[in-house]
């Protein structure tokens, strides 16, 4: 078993009197897809926001690459190589693919844009993800389909050597063919050595791409399973709280 690149231990977070995370543990491994599942209100979003540095945890230990880190701001998180692709994608429709991928971190020389370098890196990244559906990297994002937008958002996340990529419901709004495309993309991402944390409600998707499944139930990690040795019914049981697991298997 390889070492996890990121490991959360005993994470606690509350909002006033409401405690949302009550001592959560989570591990993600390079080259593996870890699915994070749980019903609405289980604390998935809070857990992710902490990882992204948007809403720091109250207490608990985060180790990244074997060192303890404090994810206090988004800048710290992205500096480590932790990138989040949110459900609403956050792309600017009026900008093209290259401009979106580099938004907020443009390459400049002499104070002006170096469009050549940016275009090169953007198309290299898309190519490394074997993206075949995009015709030109200079297309405006408004002209792209839902699946293509998801692709651009993921490519944006991995542009700068991301090591942990968190995907929030990447297939929620997509049709069958596009879902398949995005799941293939998720797989390729992991094959490149990125640790992927995949949040999804769709168990079919999860069983298709995930290596591990972690189940949150009311602010506690109730199960950490290996996809290969578990069943759908088990996972549903953990999500709904009708089944419990003593220790973590992963």
């Amino acid at each position: 078993m390889a070492e996890p690149i990121i490991e959360l231990t005993d994470i606690v977070k509350s909002f006033g009197p409401v405690s949302v995370l009550k001592g959560v543990n989570l591990k993600a491994y390079p080259g593996k897809v870890t699915a994070l599942v749980g019903d609405n209100g289980a604390g998935k979003s809070t857990l992710i926001k902490g990882l992204a540095g948007v809403q720091p945890y109250d207490s608990g230990v985060v180790t990244f690459d074997g060192h303890e880190v404090h994810l206090t701001t988004p800048r710290v998180a992205s500096g480590l190589g932790i990138e989040v692709v949110y459900q609403d994608l956050a792309l600017a429709d009026n900008l093209d693919i290259v401009q979106n991928m580099f938004l907020g971190r443009e390459e400049t020389s002499w104070g002006t844009f170096d469009e050549g370098i940016m275009e090169k890196q953007a198309s290299d990244t898309l190519r490394s993800l074997s993206v075949r559906t995009v015709k030109s990297v200079r297309q405006k994002v408004s002209s792209l389909s839902g699946g293509q937008r998801q692709t651009v958002a993921i490519a944006r996340a991995v542009l700068k050597n991301a090591r942990v990529v968190i995907l929030d419901e990447p297939t929620a709004a997509l049709g069958v063919a596009q879902t398949e495309q995005v799941l293939n993309l998720v797989r390729r991402l992991a094959d490149q050595g990125v640790a992927v944390i995949l949040i999804s409600h769709n168990l079919a998707d999860i069983f298709e791409v995930a290596d591990y499944i972690s189940v949150l139930y009311l602010g506690q990690m109730v199960a950490e399973l290996e996809t290969a040795t578990t069943t759908r019914d088990d996972v549903v049981g953990y999500i709904t709280g009708t089944k419990t697991q003593a220790g973590a298997s992963a």
Binding site: P74, R75, Y86, D88, L89, A90, L91, A92, D93, N94, L95, Q99, N100, L103, G104, R105, E106, T108, S109, G111, T112, F113, D114, E115, G116, I117, E119, K120, S123, L126, R127, V131, R132, V134, K135, S136, V137, R138, Q139, K140, S142, S143
Partner: protein, 440 residues
């Protein structure tokens, strides 16, 4: 992109890599033209409708004026020199507004910012004997302060810009009235300021200006190509660069040549006495002012982080915020730029009219918004360029100028301008719907 073929020119352009993602830069001149036609058909018409409108109106007025008057007073060098000076304040105000319209905001007070800053300018000179340089500095300082104030309320406090600037629109009119109080109007007695809109460049300076424009345009094109070649991505065929430069040389050369002809009034012979007549030749001084500001502004919008972030916020403010962009700061600065350029517009007006009164700038702001919209700037934000506002302003100015030469009243001018505005917005909306029905 799969039908890429080398056009065989001396371009040094890099052939498309053999992968499937293109960049829209590959292919011969014909491929580029085809791609451009497709973009236009897809609703991305840019400046095309406004340029078309300008050309059609010019032809129309040339014919109508000839028919009505029996002589040509519209398509003359004198009238076009006039037009350049008429349009300058509106054009500058339109360009100023682009910076806030790109954010999806509005500055209704831009006109009165111009008016009240010019009121400060003339009052400081007339009543307090301040040297005009310092007075001008004070006027700009006041304008920038107004911009910072609007920015504070809009970007920081979060009040809609419509409300904030409507308040300032009313308030600054009051300031202007108090400043001008009793005088009716105060004359601008600064020769240097008056010269901007009333004097011409020496003929040779017009040619130097054209050479600079061509050189700057060529330099930026080749700079871009070098960046792309270095990165190993394909360049557009170099024929496009030559074509662009050729257009600038031909059109610019024709304009400079025409402006350098004597357009003064010929002298009258009364018996053996020569009466009146004057020499007037050269490019109006306001033209280089406008070109420099247009170039600088376009540079900032297209090639700097500030400009890119302005578009990003206009397109999706939440995406910009998550990308780590300081949305509040960028918005704030946009209002300061807008007010600063509005003061430039005020200087142009003061120079042309020669006096500053209590109502200056009040009516101009809505025409400025109209200029931007006619040119193709989207009021929803995120789409439009400075050149759009400039050409939109030209369209509106041609209408005013042409209808005036047809001896029609200002009432007719308003009606026609309004109709053109709605027409422009309709053309834009329809083309967009056909292009796939995206918002804005």
């Amino acid at each position: 992109m799969s039908d890429f073929k080398n056009d065989g020119t001396l371009t040094g352009h890099v052939p498309a890599p053999t992968d499937l993602i293109g960049s829209g830069q590959e292919g011969s001149l014909m491929d580029q033209v085809r791609a451009w036609t497709q973009r236009v058909r897809g609703g991305d018409m840019g400046v095309l409708p406004a340029v078309g409108g300008f050309v059609v109106l010019t032809i129309l007025f040339t014919i109508l004026v000839q028919v009505v008057d029996g002589k040509q007073t519209f398509l003359t060098v004198l009238n076009f020199a006039n037009l350049a000076q008429q349009v300058a304040p509106l054009l500058m105000l339109g360009m100023a507004l682009v910076f806030v319209i790109l954010l999806g905001e509005i500055d209704l007070s831009a006109g009165v910012t111009a008016g009240s800053s010019m009121a400060i300018f003339v009052v400081l000179i007339a009543r307090f004997n301040v040297p005009w340089g310092w007075a001008l500095l004070a006027a700009f300082g006041f304008g920038l302060l107004i911009g910072a104030l609007i920015g504070f309320f809009v970007a920081r406090v979060g009040i809609p810009s419509f409300v904030v600037t409507l308040g300032l629109f009313l308030g600054l009119q009051g300031v202007q009235e108090v400043l001008i109080a009793g005088s009716g109007s105060i004359p601008v007695r600064v020769a240097e300021i008056r010269a901007i809109q009333n004097a011409n460049l020496e003929p040779w300076m017009g040619w130097v200006m054209l050479v600079i424009v061509v050189a700057v345009s060529a330099a930026t094109s080749f700079w871009d190509r070098r960046s792309r070649t270095r990165a190993g991505v394909p360049n557009r065929t170099i024929a496009l660069v030559w074509a662009k430069l050729a257009v600038i040389v031909v059109l610019g050369g024709a304009a400079v040549f025409a402006f350098n002809l004597n357009r003064g009034t010929p002298a009258t012979q009364l018996g053996d006495v020569t009466v009146g007549g004057n020499q007037q030749a050269g490019v109006p001084i306001v033209v280089p002012f406008v070109l420099v500001i247009l170039w600088l502004g376009t540079f900032v919008l297209d090639r700097t982080k500030y400009g890119r972030y302005l578009y990003a916020i206009g397109g999706n403010a939440e995406a910009a915020r998550r990308a780590g962009i300081k949305v509040v700061l960028i918005k704030w600065i946009a209002f300061v730029i807008c007010s600063g350029l509005a003061v430039v517009s005020g200087v142009f007006t003061a120079s042309r009219v020669g006096t500053v009164d209590a109502g200056m700038g009040r009516a101009l702001v809505l025409s400025g918004v109209a200029a931007a919209v006619v040119g193709g700037v989207s009021l929803f934000g995120g789409r439009g360029r400075l050149i759009h506002a400039a050409i939109g302003a030209l369209v509106i100015a041609v209408i005013t100028n042409g209808l005036g030469l047809l001896h029609l009243s200002s009432g007719v001018v308003y009606v026609v301008t309004g109709a053109v505005l709605i027409l422009a917005a309709t053309v834009d909306a329809l083309s967009r719907r056909r292009g796939g029905g995206v918002r804005t």
